[in-house]
């Protein structure tokens, strides 16, 4: 069998395996959420100030919340099969529209975060590995760990205080200057300007992960036979590091980055909250406390599907990069 058809078969098998996972996630979360006291109508009525039980019952009937749980679940699943994520009664809007609106900001933040974190992580990990157990190694390790161990919201707030309030370099929060309503290229620049602080804050958190992975991965490669052979052949340590070890060491790091992009689609509740970034994390957070079931399930569904898809893509790319890896 040739390689392409093998990969195709592999992809379709993995996709098929992904479906039950996503279904299970829906079912699991559906029942979990229904275990929680109160429903969307309670929240709406509580916010509104007051509502008669009769009116609340009317709303429940309208939202379909009066039906038995299994029926509600079946209705939801039926919609999902037709790629309809349902309706958010709280927002009076289709779930897909709400999610799409928040998806792009999330993607923007996450991709820039990963690029920054992976870039610096590789650099620092490399540096640490070539100077193993020296002061450089120690400083890099401690630096990466400090950025990881400092509570995110603290870093975020300090960023705002220092770079927005004291230096005035960046806006405190939001995604756009909404007093100005820029258009075209100015808008792109404006969004990039707003993106800086949240990206740095969030990437500091992931920096440690990539630094450590890169360091470990490099050390692992150093221990392999081909390095010993290369040394025996008389290659310089420099050449060994940059030509052989580095290339092989990058592979798991890049894989991890791919997997993370998928996982990060769920958003970062804390960074979005601190910087008022309109991402999916806050949307999920708010919809949980509003018992906006359809919306929350929709977000879970989307992020799970993305994780499954990204993992698959990463695996396939991986197999191209390293033909020794057998797929199937």
């Amino acid at each position: 069998m040739n390689r392409t058809s093998k990969i195709l078969r592999y992809v379709s098998r993995r996709l098929l395996q992904g479906i039950p996972i996503i279904l299970a996630i829906i079912v699991l979360n559906f029942f979990l959420l229904n275990l929680a006291e109160g429903d969307a109508v309670d929240v709406l009525a509580g916010e509104a100030g007051s509502a008669t039980p009769e009116y609340m019952d009317q709303l429940r009937a309208k939202f379909g919340l009066d039906k038995p749980l299994p029926v509600q679940l079946l209705v939801y699943l039926k919609n999902v099969v037709t790629l309809d994520l349902g309706y958010s009664f709280r927002h009076d809007m289709p779930v897909s529209k709400l999610i799409v609106d928040r998806f792009w900001p999330t993607l923007l933040l996450m991709v820039s975060t990963i690029i920054l974190a992976v870039g610096f992580g590789i650099l620092l990990g490399l540096l640490a590995a070539v100077s193993l157990n020296t002061w450089k190694d120690a400083i890099i390790t401690v630096f990466a760990l400090i950025t990881y161990a400092t509570p995110l919201f603290w870093v975020g707030l300090m960023m705002i205080v220092v770079f927005s309030l004291n230096f005035g370099w960046f806006p405190t929060s939001g995604m756009e200057n909404i007093a100005a309503f820029h258009e075209g290229f100015d808008r792109v620049k404006d969004i990039a300007h707003h993106l800086v602080l949240p990206t740095i804050t969030l990437s500091l958190f992931y920096l440690a992960l990539y630094t450590r992975m890169m360091r470990a991965s490099m050390l692992e490669q150093y221990g392999l036979d081909y390095v010993v052979t290369a040394r025996a052949k008389g290659l310089t340590e420099r050449r060994i590091t940059f030509v052989h070890v580095l290339r092989n060491a990058l592979l798991p790091v890049v894989t991890m980055a791919g997997v993370q992009v998928g996982a990060l689609i769920g958003g970062s509740v804390i960074v979005e909250s601190v910087f008022a970034w309109p991402g999916l994390g806050m949307l999920a957070f708010e919809s949980l406390f509003a018992r906006d079931l359809n919306l929350l399930l929709g977000i879970f569904l989307l992020s799970s599907a993305l994780v499954v898809a990204v993992n698959l893509i990463v695996d396939v790319i991986y197999s191209f990069l390293d033909p020794r890896i057998e797929i199937g």
Binding site: I22, A138, T141, L145, A149, W154, A216, E220
Partner: protein, 277 residues
Amino acid sequence: MIDFWKRFSRNRSAVFGLAILVAVLFVATIASLIYPEDPFRLAGKPLSGPGLNGFLLGSDSLGRDVASGIAHGAKTSLLIGLIATLAAVFIGIIFGAFSGYYGGRIDDLLMRITEIFQTIPSFVFAILLVAIMKPSIESIVIAITVVSWPGVARLVRAEFLSLKNREFVQACHTLGMSDLRIMLREILPNCLSPIIVIGSLMVATAILIESGLAFLGLGDPNIMSWGFQIGAGRTMLRSAWWVCTFPGIAILITVLAINLVGEGLNDALNPRLRERQ
């Protein structure tokens, strides 16, 4: 053991981390001795700066002693980290061991279940669990466990996969040992070192998750923890920086120490690195 310590102590930052960790543990143990009062007790003038009005690290908006809170909170935060990690490691080992050892259908089933939990955005899922079970120390531990175990399962499975075909395991089969006995007595001890490493890091992550939950208002209102202090002090960061800075530093130092120790363990337990030196 001595050999292990030698290798561990070669990594100076790991030793440094261990020293900090021991200090934190010490403070947690003697918290009730140095601060016998309930840390929630109003102890004096609200919002006193560090060193003022008899408060070593200042007081918060209700006049509670920040230092007392940190000492008592150390116990809570470490316990949350420890229990959640132990639980996650326990579940992870069961899933990973059976999956890796038996393979086939069992592997497929267990790994699909693992993937379900791995695919849900974990922090949001933790929030969901805590919200549903009501914020309390138990629900926080459960939530952290639920989002942490899949990583362990994957790791254990990989170890089991590579170990189960080794000669010594084959030999045990020939001797007629039961599967369970082989898994527990022969394979598991051989994959303890990566489990210890990942576990040590999970303790740190658990402490961070707890503080993140507290930041979002999902902490246990009855138990003093670092996360609680941060949640209570975060809005006054600008006016009374000490209220949440010191607990933040406590988290930072502890998480850092645990990670350094973890890294040290990794280096000391990793046979390949041993040869390099």
